[in-house]
Symmetry: C2
Subunit: 446 residues, 2 copies
Amino acid sequence: MHSTQTRTVNVGLIGLGTVGGGTARLIMRHHDEYLHAYGIDLKIARACGLDPARVDELGLDPAIFTTDWREVTSDPDIDIVVELIGGEHPATEIFEAALTSGKHMVSANKALLGRHVERLAALAAEHGVQLRCEAAAAGGIPVVNALEHALVGNNVLCIAGILNGTTNYILSRMTAEGLDFAEVLADAQRLGYAEADPSADVDGFDAASKVAILSSIAFHTRVTTDDVYMQGIRNVSADDIDQARELGYAIKLLGIARWTSSGIDARVHPVMIPRDHMLASVSGAMNAVYVVGDAVGETMFYGAGAGSFPTASAVVGDILELAQPIAHGAAPAPESEPYERTLPIRQIADLETRYYIRLSVADRTGALAPVVKAFADAGISISAVNQLADDGDGSCSVVFLTHLARERDVEQVCDTLAALDDVRSVASVIRIEDVDAWLDGVEKND
Amino acid sequence: MHSTQTRTVNVGLIGLGTVGGGTARLIMRHHDEYLHAYGIDLKIARACGLDPARVDELGLDPAIFTTDWREVTSDPDIDIVVELIGGEHPATEIFEAALTSGKHMVSANKALLGRHVERLAALAAEHGVQLRCEAAAAGGIPVVNALEHALVGNNVLCIAGILNGTTNYILSRMTAEGLDFAEVLADAQRLGYAEADPSADVDGFDAASKVAILSSIAFHTRVTTDDVYMQGIRNVSADDIDQARELGYAIKLLGIARWTSSGIDARVHPVMIPRDHMLASVSGAMNAVYVVGDAVGETMFYGAGAGSFPTASAVVGDILELAQPIAHGAAPAPESEPYERTLPIRQIADLETRYYIRLSVADRTGALAPVVKAFADAGISISAVNQLADDGDGSCSVVFLTHLARERDVEQVCDTLAALDDVRSVASVIRIEDVDAWLDGVEKND
């Protein structure tokens, strides 16, 4: 038990949905543990939501409820404002009001922070307060904390993550059951694993926001969601997954951010990775973030990227971190002044990797000759060709694997191929990620 | 760049071996990054080792070298003492001298901290300083930081880790190559993956120290190495691994610590876990720590548990955490007062799990009847029996799988079995861990 005198730490909660509700429940259920173990008397002093009935449901005191977030940000008793409504507005206004009033902030708002984390962190620094956002990247997985603290002695070289549970769930089921994207998506929607409008997940926006947040923190530079190349999983077929398996690969939607001497390489797209890579064993709706540091080498952080209590775990971890000094009469260290450098962002056209290209080609002798010529003309070297089963309409699928090639050349050759008489379509282009290159720059041990 | 005025933070390094050397190199190589990104001017002001030649090798200033650790702990300019010599003495004296002189400490000393982390943390609290030990449990993997910070909103329910790289390397090679323990150990010793005296690794002492440290932190109670039940991997055979594979399991040496209503269950021993469990995919000399919290659910932290630079990554992370306030003219928060509770430790005899028991039995009709009777008499229910290939000396191996059974009953039945005429030996007893039970107590999401 803590004998030192402590003062109550007042939290203002804005947003009482899934994450807000989990946060309220966690704080109330664990109040006594936090008090006994850490000397922190944590109190939800204000709760802002749309529906007063939610207050009853959560067991909060109705007297603290408001529908006006300004009553939270302007309340002089509030130490920490917790924004859990998501979206750009009024979240932006809430951040600005809270930070300029000298309140510390905790947020899980990946959409907003993916665009503006650097500006908002600078605003926090200017007003001597902290902005914490563990829950905004990979939910309950404590990777932001690791990047900001335990791994801070490293130059981070690479972050590669399964950052979206919906797409990992869909790809896992496609892999396990041999089904196509549309079938699994429909089932996932029925089961509540995918939204009615699944675009933010399946087209990669959600993962791109998290790449932006994580790479801004890891590389001390400005990376926004708009800087992140983005391609979703709609084009991945059961055939591709099957071919990948035969080649020893799994297909995953990864968010990748690498420090390179020519700039930050930040992208979200389906990749083939070796089936024995740790990221390949992450299945279902789980998330994982693989981080390579020059000293620590490879690390991986695994856990739930979403859900009421896992996300609340991250939110409450941030709240307690701020509450620790406040409870003992001190102020949390203000947000660091921004590290003023802006590293260039590498264009996807400059990517150099190996490619898996699946074409639908007329099933007749000689159809492949112009295809092979097109690759040769583009200077793209082919390592393997594999003709798959008949597509059933007088055409068949043929898979080409390239040696190392430049993205711009691959884009160009795909245009050329699509225009050939005997090529019905360029059905899939999937990058084969060089996972060994992720370790470039790791210090050799003695 | 940081515009605020900062002061140099002086580190006294005691121990210039593998980890000490990595730490010195990392601090020197990254000095400018730490200064620019965090405003921390980190300086190795004193270095204590046995051999002055090491100073040259590391590129340290010879003027800072000493062979007397007291010159480090008593130096008024030193802010942070870093103890990297390992062992109990003079490490204990270094801790006491440094902490009572009001110096913050960073240590990777798992043997010492496994026995005394709680007492030394209390000493740090008493003197208003911090004791940090990220590197002492699972090397470069930032799990201590996660338990003390990002996951602090959770009640930790279970920790299960691959905490020793040598044994994981040996088991991985036994699994991949079908070799027996002694063969792989000899090869591992030749390659430098195992010590000439491998006991601390293969008999589980090293992992038990880490279980003690992690469970003391996670459960806010005193768990020392002596409290941890310990059994190594010497008895695991290629046959067992083969049988496990057929049953859908992998064999791993796990350190397990669970909070239960009847006390802390803390143990290190080989277990069978499902092959699709995340811990089963950790191969070679890598480590991983699986942590279950009531809010976050399951998480896993993966990385290098040893090695010069990975361990230095954890040490320098701790140093920078302390250096941050010092550089800006403030004091790091002192170690929290100990949470004064001592939860009971559950005895291994009370463990209830399923068991894999391999007997060497005379190869003759009727030999199994008294075996089956012995199980029945002990009240142990058998779920499967599998006779393996002939052992070649008139006996054969027979594997029994039990339903849930109590450890004390299994111990007793093994004594009974060993005394039977037709039982040549009880060759292996391996616990089949109920990994689903690790999740008992996790909050259900809305």
